[in-house]
Amino acid sequence: MADDPLFEQIPEVMSRLGTDLSIRAQNSLSIERYGNAEGVPCYKAHFGRDERCPGCMVKQVLAMGRTDRWNMADNRSERPTYYEVTIAPILDDEGRVKELIEIIRDDTLKFGVEQHLIQTSEGLEAEVADRSRELEELTTRTDGLREQLSKLREDQTAMVQTEKMASLGRLAAGLTHEIHTPLGALISNLDILNRIISKSDPPDETLKELLELQQLAADRIHKIVRSLRNFAHLDRAEEEPYDLHEGIEASLALLAHQVKGRIEVVREFGDLPAVRCKADAINQVFMNLLQNAVHAIEESGEIRVTTRVEGDQAVLEFRDSGKGIAKEHVEKLFEPGFTTKPRGVGTGLGLAIAYTTMTDHKGEIEVESAPGRGTLFTLRLPIAGGFV
């Protein structure tokens, strides 16, 4: 309508409708889309319907005299199109609706985008939920794996330790065999020399002195080789029921001269049944622990031996009030060759032997110590035995 520039220039598809919904005028955009439709009802012209569209709000516009806007879908084609329809009333001087302005805006694109966004966001939400679940599962699994890993690490350390001990055992076995022969000859030769010299008159004092020194050296070698052999358990005794208290007493008796007047020995013996074990080997463990305790007490102090039954195990505690062990030494305590004692006093095998003996018996040995606070060794032995 050339007489209404506004009507023509607003870039929307616009029509003027009578209150009966027949088209009175169209702007050029409307004509472009729907063709000349003057006199045709809007529902017919725009949507090809024979009656009013479902959801049409014109009634309310007429009744209220107010603009209204709503959405409509055109389902005639396979891909539906969406429209936003605006109906604005034009009032006469008395305030009655005389005409309607209709604006039809194709919203298919916007609607599609919205739909797509809704669908996408729903999908995203589902995905987020899925991911959260997966993450939770992963966390649980990671925790499990971490636990397994630390268990594996522990096992590995134990295996390395066991393997180390086993190969040292083999080494010791081979070594002692190799040493026994020359050592046998050495000791025997010294003895023959002694016999000859003691028969000579007058005896040569220098030779006698030298021989004595040689004898001391040979005895030292013999002692070390004996420890090595015990470490390798070359002399296998049978496993049999044994009174552990008897073994502890025997070891204490052997140490009596070092203990007397200096160290108080406290016995807290529980009611222990006979324990199946290799008595010789176990006695050596007692001897090593008690000897260490005696060495740890510099002047005077106390050694406390406690025994009890815990489940199917005999538990023995050897506690001394001695100088204790430095933290960095505690870790190496059961390693063969480790000693803090002066040369000639310790072979560095005592606790390694104790460790091997206890694991061979399917038992355990533990140490608790701090400098200045004494040392506690705890032994656990299965009462029923189980030597491997």
């Binding site: 065999h177 026994h180 022969t181 046998g184 000791i187 025997s188 030769n189 003895d191 023959i192 296998r236």
Partner: protein
């Protein structure tokens, strides 16, 4: 009779052991030692000469002490057999004592006094065994003669 010199064979692949034992045995004039460093050679000697005691090392290249003493037992059952070994494991000791009728299983390093006492007893036993077997056979002979006379 038991005061005649007692012949002891020692076999050990280690020269230092055989030389040492030869010297040790010579300090006691009663023993007459003979030593070898190979079990094969020692076995030839066992076949040829009467012995009172045989001392063998356990682990030797070639024939070991166990097999050597087993064969020596077949040849001269009366000679006492001793295993002197640096390889101390009780299973092989028990096997040796049971299978070769060992007189003693001795571990290196050994105590000379103890070894000499052992050899004194071992050789005395061998000589007594031989005397017994001689007496038994002469008694058998006597019995045969008496029987012949009676028949």
């Amino acid at each position: 009779m038991t005061n005649e010199s007692r012949r002891v064979l020692v076999v050990d692949d280690e020269d230092m052991v055989t030389r040492n034992l030869k010297m040790l045995l010579k300090t006691e004039t009663i023993f007459e030692p003979v030593t070898f460093n190979s079990a094969e050679q020692a076995l030839e000697y066992v076949k040829a000469e009467t012995l009172d005691a045989i001392v063998a090392d356990f682990i030797m290249p070639g024939m070991n002490g166990f097999d050597f003493l087993k064969q020596a037992k077949e040849i001269q059952p009366s000679a006492s057999r001793l295993l002197l070994t640096g390889y101390a494991d009780k299973e092989s000791a028990i096997r040796a004592i049971n299978e070769i009728g060992l007189f003693y299983y001795l571990e290196k390093p050994w105590d000379n006094d103890f070894l000499l006492t052992l050899l004194d007893r071992a050789t005395e036993r061998s000589q007594l065994l031989r005397q017994l077997s001689d007496t038994t056979s002469s008694l058998e002979e006597l019995r045969g003669q008496i029987l012949k006379m009676l028949i």
